[in-house]
Subunit: 360 residues, 2 copies
């Protein structure tokens, strides 16, 4: 079995069938699959079909509750506190962002804090929902502990990503980044390929830089001292305290505001029962929406047209590579690694779901 | 003349007298001085009395308009667009944050976009205004161009700081950071002291790391290719594209949303006519405000009590060092460098303001 390119609609249909077989209602299965497909289309394989086994295991273990529905437990015209009741994060988060968007359309802005959720896929999926309707948006989540604070040796913070989207043409400004130097997924990739990691990604319990991906991955999974560094690196010289501060900001807006679990209270790097924060607002509150959108598009073009450094072809803006990948994948299929293919087959067999001919 | 410690109230009174002599109304002079004092009390000398000469020159040149008042030009119950009419950034920004706070108290949240402002001091001053009244808050600004985008050689972005404050006890979580690795002020300090800079702060037009602070500072002031790197450093390996993306996010929420000048449209690194973004919201929308505040305080304590790396005394959270510095300076005086003292004397002489006995 080898890496393949699978046509996007077949892969989507397979994921939908799998989630239906897990027990989800048709539209919920479609919602979950849509989040995973967006990651695969955008070239963020770590959060696409590759995550199916992880979700399958969470459903089996009962960490995720198949029948649960998110519930608004507190509400104002501009805000909602939502309890996910441990439903799949994608269902709860799409519900929460839709709630924020409805409020933004009525009042100009909507803020939703969510607790008792679970892994919600790529943070940027939800901001894109808003941008498609002309709204600017934020999306954040806390996660299980993998990041050490500046000067610290215990993993006290999650990947804690922050996503922001601003409408623009031909594609929105689409920013989605962890507040760590890299995600655990990157460490895992280097581990699988038995490659040494670049300097400055992870530290051991003594504070020294680790380049041994297998050792780093093992120590993180075991919850041993050391971990992934905040964006900006070790110490304060290159701004590591800024990445650390951004991660605490995300924790304040998720676990704290939603009164849910905090990163260090979760079990393991994939610790679940996460909290999220979503916000949508209408740029049209501040002026002519079309003019603001054009202003954003022009600025992005100024950046793209600015001179690249010698040896580089061009300057990108956040989202450029994702939308280019999407164009390619819709035309030429979605790359699926052999290992992921085997996992999909195993899940399908487990649930009695037929695999498409091309994947057998 | 040598570096001194000046008692805080004398320094504040001197700055107020100077701004009154510049032509500002008494309460405006007090407001501007309060922003500068907060920076000096927090140990952020680059944005305290050290900036008096810069403001004096901007007022003299007419880049800042002494008689101007900020004006709300568009408004909803949750938002305002404010035109600063080139008034001092501190006056406009305090007005804007107060507007956001009033809206937050009435509706739960307030967002203000500001254009045609000027240098507003430390971004975190304004979030602190909100935190004192139990509100969480954001503050951002664009600035003149000093940052190169990932893979780029032209300075297309400002320092573009992002500040966030969340109420907590005994002191709030107070985060205020540029989206560059370092601010231009740090480069200037290394230039003045003729010290080589650490690797990874600035690049030349060929993309190579610069450690020569004098050369870097000169090139930035001249607008030559190269500049300060985004948080995360050069390229993508250590997440430089994340710092770059955060800077564009700040630009989208300031210059774009307020329909003002964008960083690359400003003249020089201290380019004025900046745009800002302020947001305040009431955590009490999401639950019991006191419980959320206690939850935040507990998390900050968990971080502070977590194990430090060998060789480090403790783990800090954003604001810890600032509030400790404030305690020290209120008791022992504010450090004022000899050069700043000479500048204050020169401004005072220029305006016919008496210097305090201790500063003559």
């Amino acid at each position: 079995m080898q890496d393949v390119r699978m046509d996007a609609e077949s892969l989507r249909a397979l994921m939908e069938r799998i989630f239906a077989a897990e027990g989800f209602a048709k539209e919920d299965a479609a919602q979950i699959a849509d989040v995973l497909m967006q990651a695969d289309l955008f070239g963020i394989e770590s959060h696409g079909a590759q995550r199916m086994m992880y979700y399958h295991q969470n459903i089996k273990s009962g960490s995720v509750s198949v029948g649960a529905r998110p519930e608004i437990v507190r509400e104002t015209p501009v805000s909602a506190l939502i309890d996910g009741h441990f439903a799949m994060g994608q269902i709860t988060s799409a519900f929460a962002m839709n709630t924020a968007m409805e409020k933004a359309k009525r009042t100009g802005v909507g803020l939703c804090a969510v607790r008792n959720s679970s892994h919600f896929g790529i943070a940027g999926y939800y901001t894109l929902m808003a941008a498609r309707q002309g709204l600017a948006a934020f999306s954040m989540t806390n996660t299980g502990p993998i990041m050490t604070p500046t000067f610290g040796r215990e993993m006290m913070l999650g990947t804690n990503p922050l996503a922001f989207c601003m409408p623009a043409d031909p594609t929105p400004f689409w920013f989605d980044a962890s507040t760590t130097v890299v995600t655990l997924g990157k460490v895992e990739v280097y581990d699988k390929r038995a490659k040494p990691m670049p300097q400055g990604w992870t530290i051991g319990g003594d504070g020294s830089t680790q380049t041994d991906a297998a050792a780093a991955n093992r120590a993180i999974l075991a919850g041993e001292p050391g971990g992934i560094l905040p964006l900006g690196g070790a110490g304060e010289i290159t701004g590591g305290h800024k990445g650390y501060g951004l991660a605490v900001m995300v924790e304040a807006l998720t676990g704290v505001l939603a009164q849910g679990l905090l990163s260090p209270q979760m079990l393991g790097p994939h610790g679940d029962h996460t909290s999220h924060f979503f916000m949508a607002f209408d740029p049209g509150m501040f002026g002519d929406a079309a003019a603001i959108r054009a202003h954003m598009s022009e600025y992005l073009d100024m950046l793209r047209r600015s001179e690249p450094l010698p040896g580089f072809e061009r300057v990108y803006t956040a989202g450029d590579k994702a939308f280019a990948a999407q164009e390619d994948r819709l035309k030429n299929g979605v790359p699926v690694e052999a290992k992921t293919l085997r996992e999909l087959q195993s899940i399908a067999a487990d649930l009695g779901v037929d695999m498409p001919k091309t994947m057998q």
